[in-house]
């Protein structure tokens, strides 16, 4: 446990983040009852509650969350697009989205109050990681369905700092904005920060022309080794935060000035770790799959969402920062085959769905991921089949372009397409492993 802060220790909502533990647990229990009552209005939960004999009054302590059934990503898919909404459409103030496991995204929705609470959740980790009202913040996350762009935008607005919404990509323009408007805070994926760092250090830019002091990273897992590289390379502080669209986006947890892991925002979430095989809740300190129950979300009251992210909730007492919340580790892996490519979640099944739109039969394929420089590169190796082959080079290149466009349409990512001979890709018995990931994303 670190006992000295790296920067000044600031807390955005001390009345909630530092609530004495017994009061916090009582608040969690009260909010859990309300969340269960809201979920009971959604047919998907109502049916399960009837089967399991669940009523809101049974929830007297936060541990009672274990009585609830799990929610999986497939449940969003099975009730596409908005079957899990708990409020009328007229009350929705915001939609965001994330990848689905097929050609369709997973939608998340917010009431006005949900957007409001989300802004405070983002403000909490931004302020603990150096954001001040007088700062300018360059957001290099994409502004779109991705929860990162607009989520952090709202958080910065809540704090009262200036927003410089450059959005993602085009590093020449990113660096120009950084030099000309001199923002103190940068928000991007950690791998994009590595790319910008390479451009700054190798592009002959004077580091003094850039005023960045802190960077907040999200959207993809990263390592302590990457933190050290970027912090020493650019002389800035890099901060970690966590969240997923299905449970409201970023702000579920974030680091404080002491850097003892990421504080769970326990007034608004109950977070458990489970054994993904037995589905039993694990004691704190043990590595397992994170399961998240948002307590306050009105639009989408997701219960016990199985994140498929692997992490640890620490059991070494409370952080000296003054917060009374438990803390979690970095994300240490996944229990499914989801990939995160340049901050975008990608499922191999999405690529299969894209191939199906090009060819009647999905050809055998393999996804190869690497990070040759700072950014992820994906090559999809596809075995030729007779219906795809032509003696004309123009038609062959057309097929390749069509596949690439179809994958872009589903995932939003440009991937390399490599056509290979039939029966040359490895075959697997049982559960096929379609992914060959050469990146090192875990310490």
């Amino acid at each position: 446990m670190n006992t000295t802060p790296i920067i000044e220790n600031r807390i955005w909502q001390p009345e909630l983040e530092c609530l004495p533990r017994p009061q916090l647990l009582a608040l969690q229990a009260e909010r859990l009852r309300a969340a269960v009552a809201r979920a009971a209005t959604v047919p998907f939960y109502k049916e399960q509650f009837a089967k399991l004999g669940i009523t809101p009054e049974q929830f007297k302590s936060p541990e009672d969350v274990r009585r609830l059934p799990f929610t999986n990503k497939s449940d969003f898919h099975n009730h596409y697009p908005l079957g899990l909404l708990a409020v009328p459409r007229s009350e929705i103030a915001r939609f965001q989205g994330t990848s689905g496991t097929t050609g369709k995204p997973t939608w998340t929705a917010y009431t006005k109050a949900d957007v409001d609470r989300w802004a405070d959740l983002c403000a909490r980790f931004l302020v603990s990681g150096g954001l001040r009202p007088e700062h300018t913040v360059q957001i290099s996350f994409g502004f779109g369905l991705f929860t990162g762009g607009f989520g952090l935008h709202n958080g910065i607005q809540r704090v009262g700092a200036a927003i410089l919404p450059v959005s993602s990509g085009n590093s020449v323009r990113q660096l120009m904005c950084m030099q000309d408007l001199r923002p103190e805070i940068l928000i991007c994926t950690p791998s994009y920060a590595l790319k910008l760092m390479d451009d700054i250090l190798n592009g002959g830019l004077d580091r003094k022309t850039i005023a960045i002091e802190h960077a907040h990273f999200g959207g993809e897992p990263w390592t302590e080794e990457m933190r050290t590289r970027i912090e020493t390379g650019l002389g800035i502080r890099c901060w970690n935060n966590y969240g997923m669209a299905e449970c409201g986006g970023p702000g579920l947890s974030g680091e404080c000035a002491y850097r003892n892991g990421m504080h769970l925002q326990e007034d608004q979430y109950i977070v458990e770790t489970i054994d993904p095989d037995t589905l039993e809740t694990l004691p704190d300190g043990e590595k397992g799959e994170l399961v998240v129950t948002p307590l306050c979300r009105e639009a989408l009251p997701t219960l016990r969402y199985r994140t498929r992210d692997i992490g640890i909730i620490y059991d070494d007492g409370f952080c000296p920062c003054g917060r009374t919340t438990r803390r979690m580790s970095r994300i240490l892996g996944r229990t499914d085959d989801m990939l995160i490519i340049r901050g975008v979640n990608v499922f191999p099944s999405q690529i299969e769905a894209a191939l199906m739109t090009c060819e009647s039969v999905a050809p055998h394929y393999m996804i190869e991921v690497s990070r040759p420089h700072a950014l992820d590169e994906v090559t999809v190796h596809i075995e030729m089949q007779p219906n795809m082959f032509s003696d004309s080079m123009k038609e062959m290149q057309g097929i390749r372009d069509k596949i690439a466009a179809s994958i872009y349409g589903v995932t939003g990512l440009h991937m390399h397409i490599n056509l290979v001979s039939p029966n040359t890709l490895e075959r697997f018995e049982g559960k096929s492993r379609r992914v060959n990931d050469h990146r090192k994303l875990v310490d």
Partner: protein, 145 residues
Amino acid sequence: MKIQQISLFLENKPGHLNAICRTLAQAQINIVTLSLADTQQFGIVRLIVEEWQKAKEVLEQAGYVVNVREVVAASVADKPGGMAEVLDIIGKAGVNIEYMYAFAFRHGAEAVLVFRFDNPDRAIEALKAAGRGVFDAVSLFSKPK
């Protein structure tokens, strides 16, 4: 007046073309002529053989992706300007050449070219009208006198 061409998908890697040739050699199939079109990653091999059905069968059995296409084999005077004369005929007919390559052997005093046209029938008509020879398989593979 068209002949059958066999084409195969080929990865751009050492030994891959040789493997195709070996497969045909084992089946006693002679490659009359071939052309290669390549990109950095993959290529297309186009072959003219006498027994194209047999070639297709053995190549498919060996696991290759094979495509059969009708192409036009036309004669060209084997002298300066011979090629230009044929291209003039095709150009005037408004036909586009998707690809072409030459035969390894001469047919009498003439060279033979293989074409894939966007409109083969119009090209054949124009070539014949201009007095150029267009071969079918029988006339192409018969020994010239």
